[in-house]
């Protein structure tokens, strides 16, 4: 099924080295994947373990073989990457349709390395219908890698509680908000960061959040605010529309 984006987190009590399990699906650039170091069966990008990834780029080449389709996907951060999609030979229909070169796609798959050459085995390739997702993807890459790395570095951090709201936010790959990290989805993290960095005494208003987060609907923002508030990350100030962070400087 599609329930692969599970919360990654510390594997239990104590332990000076908090490994982020590679159960997350991590948005990456091709350049990051190429630079990832492999130790035995695991890949690491700057010490962060990765396995399932998403990349977004344009198809430069597509080659159909009996059992698989080989694409070359280019996100302009490095040379186009080989992406292989296995074809179910018994099933006629959408699995066998080749996405034409010149199309921007979102690829979700596993990173592989064979004879020192990296490639992806895709479990989902989706043409982008809204190019604004590309912008979101770029920002999610920076945000996710930063958060994952920060989690690794702060060894004394107490594992946060994982709320089912965080997992409920993960719905397919179109939404783009579904990476629960440290109990917070990407949407919630973005909202929290904006609220944290707001210098105004009465805090950040919902309207201001909507202005800053163009591609997030008001209801998503409200859900994120409710969750963050119930977890104690933020509190309301002058009214229910204004919030400040509980650990603002």
């Amino acid at each position: 099924g599609e329930g692969r984006a599970l919360p990654g987190g510390a594997d239990g009590p104590a332990g000076p080295s908090q490994r982020i399990r590679s159960q997350n699906i991590v948005p990456c650039t091709v350049s990051q994947l190429l630079a990832a170091e492999q130790v035995d069966e695991t890949f690491r990008i700057r010490d962060v373990e990765i396995s399932q990834v998403t990349v977004m780029g344009i198809i430069r080449h597509a080659e159909k073989a009996p059992t698989n389709i080989l694409y070359k996907v280019d996100d302009m951060t490095a040379a186009p990457m080989d992406v292989r999609q296995w074809v179910d030979t018994d099933e006629a229909g959408s699995e066998n349709v080749v996405v034409p070169p010149g199309t921007y796609v979102k690829v979700a798959g596993h990173l592989r390395s064979f004879q020192n050459k990296k490639s992806l085995v895709a479990f989902k390739i989706m043409p982008l219908e809204n190019m604004n997702e590309f912008t979101t993807h770029m920002l999610e890459i920076v945000n996710t890698h930063m958060i994952l790395r920060k989690n690794l570095m702060s060894a004394s951090r107490v594992p946060q509680s994982f709320s089912s709201t965080g997992i409920g936010d993960v719905g397919g790959y179109g939404g783009g908000g579904g990476l629960p990290v440290n109990g917070l989805t990407a949407h919630q993290s973005q909202v929290l960061n904006l609220i944290k960095n707001c210098p105004v005494p009465e805090g950040m208003s919902l309207q201001e959040l909507k202005v800053q987060l163009h591609n997030m609907s008001m209801s998503t923002i409200k859900q994120a605010v409710e969750f963050l508030s119930s977890e104690g990350h933020i509190y309301s100030t002058v009214d229910d529309d204004h919030y400040k962070s509980t650990d603002a400087e």
Partner: protein, 83 residues
């Protein structure tokens, strides 16, 4: 787009203009948001190697926010490397 079809001007997310030169004249009408891959020349124009028109049939592309995102990724080369 210049009448010869070998040159067009793009406006970015901040309203700044860039001139794009092509080695062959355009063979199609282009409009809307275009992504150009090319080299910067001494005259500060872009020598186009390839271009693609963005799909805007379902949703318009927010160029201003894309511009902001670009600035952010350039601020964090450790998390968004260009090899």
């Amino acid at each position: 787009i210049h009448p010869t079809g070998k040159l067009f001007v793009l406006s970015d997310g901040e309203g700044k203009h860039a001139t794009v030169e092509l080695s062959e004249p355009l063979e199609e009408e282009i409009s809307g948001v275009v992504e150009v891959v090319g080299r910067v020349t001494n005259q500060a124009t872009i020598m186009c190697m390839s271009y693609v028109q963005f799909r805007e049939d379902k949703s318009p592309f927010d160029l201003e926010i894309y511009n902001e995102a670009l600035k952010i990724i350039h601020e964090f080369p450790e998390y968004f490397p260009f090899s």
